[in-house]
Symmetry: C2
Subunit: 303 residues, 2 copies
DNA sequence: TGATATTGATAAGTAATGTCTATCAATAGA
DNA sequence: TCTATTGATAGACATTACTTATCAATATCA
């Protein structure tokens, strides 16, 4: 006896019989015939191995097992009906979209962007993964994420990208570190902080340090940009940061430009989806993301 | 497109594909073939009007809609599976049984009896209706209740009954009322309290009053025996009560026997089910109820 | 680059399922 | 006793679901 052969119309039939009192009334409501209703009940009782109705003269009443089945099926049935209707409902787009973002892009763009998406599609669910751009590219290529915000230029034949602007990168340190640099006359031998070696910013940092003639006894890595900002603001050394993430710290005087550092070219941020993407919802979201300008978005410094 | 044609095996198929990653693996798990799985998915997508999977080379991944359906189906499916299995599971009897009882029988028997039933059948649910015996007989005859505790002898060809003992009935009043009766030398013209005229106790009360030569300027009715006890204990008059309900009040001195009142024959209590009852659970419960002795059960006087 | 393996889709045939109409059985009401 | 109501069953038919065989697309390996 296979319970899995039970369909939602069996449960619906049971619930309508219970509500209306007779097989004939349920048949009318479900636009079928009384023998069809009788057969459905027999089939359901057969699947379950228990009797659901008892005939008393002309009336059918539920058995205790039948009553419990009715009582507990109703919320489950309502849940499935709501779910199945929303799955097929194009007026109210629903689903789960996975977005990957580097931390900088995430901090800069995602809060506002997510809010915009959820205003547009209230039933949309998101799964967001913060990781390094290189890892995210791998994830999108293997179908483990749907849309990626990444730093640097993303070029892959299987990906379709669009730029969302460039972010100025700044070499920054705390006022105390800057005082020491000024006293020494140069930035030599101060600790350097950067994101991990897989990040595009790591390479940019290396180029900037080399161009500025700064030598360092240590290059320190961290995989969390916010933590790194805290470390540098506490006098831990020199760090390279996107302007968008440190606007507030600069205004507060917690960080300042390292004197003598040469300008760093801005880093471009891009959004990527698969070139062969066909899902209309993901295509819409990609279009929305392409309209973002990463420079325009404020980045609150969360503690 | 009818969502109701979707069966639980469709949902199960979707969940297994999502877990195992390929149609072939799901086919193996579900003991069917890969084309059958492919057809099930196509059917489900057709019913829902949306795509659930996207083919990327050799791998299939869920669309956002598919992912949401998987996520939200799992708890609903688990709920249905648990429910349907318990419906057919004879080792763990479940269901909802309706018990009707007069207030006296309810107060005397039900707390202990209900506890016993729930120890025996943890998954049993009860719906208890407190009403007058006459109404309960009507309910059981029309299939609106399953088992009835009633006062007096229940005789109906369509009912099968068993006695659960007899309860002494006592004419009682408060000490102040009794003092006044003794001062007057008889109980004439004191208010009489009884359950409503449809109750067997009403008729017994009338006979008892007549046999005792007590005339009364008023016979007062109440449909709540506990309230009536409170009224009489507060000096409201004379009432007739089953011993089982007033044991505590007698011990506390809140009530006492009316002097000069003749003994009232005890009233029998019975349990009844339909003569044609076939449900094994109800038959079991009826057998258990038949073993009760209403005199043996203490009745806490709840305030 | 070609051969092979893997995965899902499709076709055709067959078995199983579900519903219809017609009719019967049991019960209640007039 | 007759009629009406309700559910069960039978037979015919339409629909559904699955099997095997095969094809198409893609990835891997030599």
């Amino acid at each position: 006896m296979s319970i899995n052969r039970i369909a939602f119309y069996h449960i619906e039939t049971l619930l309508w019989i219970a509500r209306l009192g007779t097989f004939g009334a349920a048949a009318e409501r479900l636009k079928t015939t009384q023998p069809a209703i009788s057969a459905r009940v027999r089939e359901l009782e057969h699947h379950l191995g228990t009797s659901l109705f008892r005939r008393e003269g002309r009336t059918m009443t539920l058995t205790p097992a039948g009553r419990q089945l009715v009582r507990e099926s109703e919320p489950l049935m309502a849940g499935f009906q709501s779910l199945l209707h929303s799955a097929g409902d194009t007026a109210e787009t629903a689903g789960i979209v996975r977005i990957g973002a580097g931390e900088i892009a995430a901090a800069s763009c995602l809060p506002g962007f997510v809010a915009e998406l959820q205003r547009t599609w209230p039933n949309l669910s998101l799964e967001i993964e913060i990781a390094l751009t290189a890892d995210l590219i791998q994830q999108i290529l293997t179908g483990r994420t749907d849309l990626v915000f990444g730093a640097g230029r993303i070029a892959h034949p299987a990906l379709r990208t669009t730029s969302i602007g460039a972010v100025d990168l700044l070499l920054l340190a705390s006022p105390t570190t800057i005082g020491a640099i000024e006293a020494q006359g140069n930035a030599t031998n101060f600790p350097i902080w950067s994101l991990s070696s897989h990040s595009p910013l790591y390479h940019i940092m290396k180029q900037a340090i080399a161009a500025s003639g700064i030598t360092s006894r240590s290059v320190n890595l961290c995989n969390n940009a916010r933590m790194m900002i805290d470390i540098v603001a506490a006098g831990g050394g020199i760090g390279i940061f996107p302007h968008s993430m440190v606007r507030q710290a600069l205004e507060d005087g917690a960080l300042a430009l390292v004197p003598g550092a040469m300008d760093i070219p801005p880093v471009e941020f891009q959004v990527a989806i698969r070139a062969g993407e066909t899902d209309p919802l993901i295509l819409h979201i990609f279009e929305r993301a392409g309209q973002l300008d990463i420079r325009a978005m404020s980045t609150p410094l969360a503690s």
